[in-house]
Assembly symmetry: C2
Homo-oligomer: 420 residues x 2
């Protein structure tokens, strides 16, 4: 679609969100928590309505012949509705970052300086056809005192409209203005583009989804972007890697949830380690049905390996496949990661402290592991509670982003007439 859907007015919606964000920013933690619990109850109560709306999207998806993986992300069930309602209840339990005085001091002239944590204002969330993100993102935004403008994937439009309708029916029973939650309810792509440049009304854009979506937002937005996570993650078996430990970590990072961003995509292996452990590695991969794309050395060593090309080194498989690269030392492993990594999660398995330290210091990534699985790069695994995404950029927030990532600071100065 290229013509503008005139039933939506993106700018008006963003402005309304901005106005609502002002009163929302003044609410107490208790008022926000109570609102989240009311929304959670309402969503559960309206499960049938939500599932009916979701069914419209599913039927359309079946007609269009979407993949089962796609349909699975789109599909809501009674249990999934309960899950996201419970997610809101968990967010209500989290510590409220807003109002925290991060530091305070007095100047010599007596002027008091306070560095206070405040909401960002309006968050623009751009995501794919995953209706649960509608609820998760709204919960995190509201808890951190922010209004939210939601633009979900077109193929989940009915589901998102249903969910937001329920949220809008719940909000008047709370202190949060209903206009704090805005859904851009159109399949018109032009509407998304309008969000990219709405600097006067939107404080941050958070794209969540595949690489193509994220790149479109990063390349076109003048609104600041919190880039979230494509994870082309590596595990490096150093010469001294303890074989069983190494294999356990590899298989866990590859098979526990192959479709997530902290799953491993490339194994880098020291040639000496490989020489001594090739049978163990080959058997473990085969036992777990993991297809191997390897460099020349690997193709010559493993019967079932196929040759890897640039794509294999660069892209996520998000399934039971792995690329394997051989190296002669830690620096070569670091260089490979520098070339192909996405600055997400990188691991070294070694018993050598010097290699571990080199890897830790020189690998440029949100999370660097020594002798542990890359799967721990995750807000709930690290104890942050729910996360809005995993940042692979370096500014503002890096790694799993919890509630503080949705805030900024304000300097509040109190004087008695101080001049300079």
């Amino acid at each position: 679609m290229t013509t503008l859907d005139r039933t939506v007015n993106v700018k008006e919606q963003a402005k309304k969100a901005q106005v609502a964000s002002k009163s929302l920013s003044l609410l107490t933690t208790e008022e926000k928590n109570e609102a989240l619990l009311i929304i959670a109850d309402e969503l559960e109560k309206e499960t049938e309505f939500i599932l009916n709306e979701n069914k419209k999207d599913l039927d359309r998806g079946t007609e269009k012949g979407f993949t089962e993986a796609f349909m699975d992300r789109l599909r809501l069930t009674e249990e999934r509705v309960k899950d996201f309602a419970n997610g809101l209840r968990e967010v209500a339990e989290l510590e409220d970052p807003v109002g925290e005085v991060i530091s305070d001091w007095n100047l010599d002239n007596g002027m008091q300086v306070e560095q206070v944590r405040v909401p960002l204002g309006v968050i623009g969330m751009i995501y794919e056809a995953r209706p649960n993100v509608t609820v998760d993102a709204t919960g995190l935004a509201l808890k951190s005192g922010n209004a939210i403008v939601l633009k979900g994937g077109s193929n989940a439009l009915n589901s998102n409209k249903g969910i937001v309708r329920v949220i809008h029916e719940a909000l008047p029973k709370t202190k949060i203005p209903a206009e704090a939650v805005q859904l851009i309810a159109t399949t018109d792509r032009e509407a998304t583009s309008q969000l990219f440049t709405m600097k006067d009304h939107i404080d941050v854009l958070i794209p969540r989804g595949g690489g193509a979506l994220i790149n479109t937002v990063v390349n076109n937005a003048t609104v600041p972007v919190l880039e979230t996570g494509v994870g082309n993650c590596h595990i490096y078996f150093d010469e001294t890697a303890q074989p069983e430990k190494a294999i356990d970590i590899l298989i866990n990072a590859k098979t526990d949830r192959p479709a997530v961003c902290n799953a491993v995509e490339t194994l880098i292996v020291h040639t000496k380690w490989l020489e001594e452990n090739k049978d163990l590695l080959e058997k473990s991969l085969a036992d777990n049905n993991i297809k191997v794309h390897g460099d020349d050395h690997i193709v010559n060593t493993f019967k079932e390996a196929v040759p890897a090309d640039e794509d294999d080194w660069s892209n996520e498989y998000l399934g039971l496949e792995i690329a394997i690269k051989t190296v002669n030392n830690t620096q070569e492993a670091i260089d490979h990661i520098e070339t192909y990594g996405t600055k997400h999660s990188e691991a070294i398995i070694t018993e050598d402290a010097k290699s571990a330290s080199l890897f830790r210091n020189l690998v440029d990534a949100a999370a660097v592991y020594h002798n542990a699985s890359t799967r721990f790069t995750d807000g709930s695994a690290l104890g942050f509670g729910a996360e809005i995404g995993i940042s692979t950029q370096k500014l503002h927030a890096r790694g799993p982003m919890g509630l503080p990532a949705l805030t900024t600071i304000k300097y509040c100065m109190t004087g008695t007439g101080q001049i300079r």
Copy 2:
């Protein structure tokens, strides 16, 4: 100029900076401090050379008929060289943010998590014809473990080349690789544009200068930008503002350094306060040669006032002029700031705690003042030491940016084979 200057290869320079940033990131605080002191000495020793190079720019500027204000920013003197050399010595005294363990904890499974402060990597600095920025930015970048790519204003090209030549002669006497400091030595605008999208080699762009420069970078860059400060700052005299205190603050904020971003540009005044204090205000402005652009009410009240238009409300005067807007309550003042402010520094002068609190909570700016001058929004005034600029954006850093704004975090995990 629109054709590409083939004597420079921006991408090669950015790549070299990136390579250099790796070894730079491993240096100790002492090694970095020693390097800064050596550079400072060398700059002072080469004062004559630097002034000669600067003279080429000044002569060209005179020929081209640049304004005196422009020439003043461009001009170096023996004292100014001493000043920026001393600036480097002060940066050497500042605390090194790199390596700080911001927090650390163990998961239940025993995996250790450390959140460590690390350099951003490569900083791209885009600025106007102010040669001192070349030294200041380089000092802050190196101290925080970052390489820097400098693109200064074309009219200061000879000065910048001279300064960077001296720095490059000093660096081999230090542990810092000379390639960590790169000057894009061309007047070709295309070279600047190339920096905008060099995401693979530059971690952050910092534009420093006027609104036009900043907007060009923000609108065209895909590299993350740290937006620095256009300051259309307001002071609001509430109904209960103590007259002498209010006037002192206003005159200080307007006249102390009218050309800087934390100077006040618009006075908002409560009609009741104005009624009682109009003579005092009119006389104080006249005594300080401040030209008044006012709304209808002001034009009817003050003999010398001229009518203000949209431009007066929106733009910085950066000189001895002020816009004056009358309002009937604090909310109207807040609304005016919301419409025209640039989220820099905003002040309320009042003896009423409720008004002060409303203003503090609802005004969306890096710094909000109660009964003090806006002039304190400044790294050195607040005790941060040297600053790389004043951020008027909300992500990553807000307000005066010291060394920590040039760092990011890295999660360093240490395990014994933990899997999920």
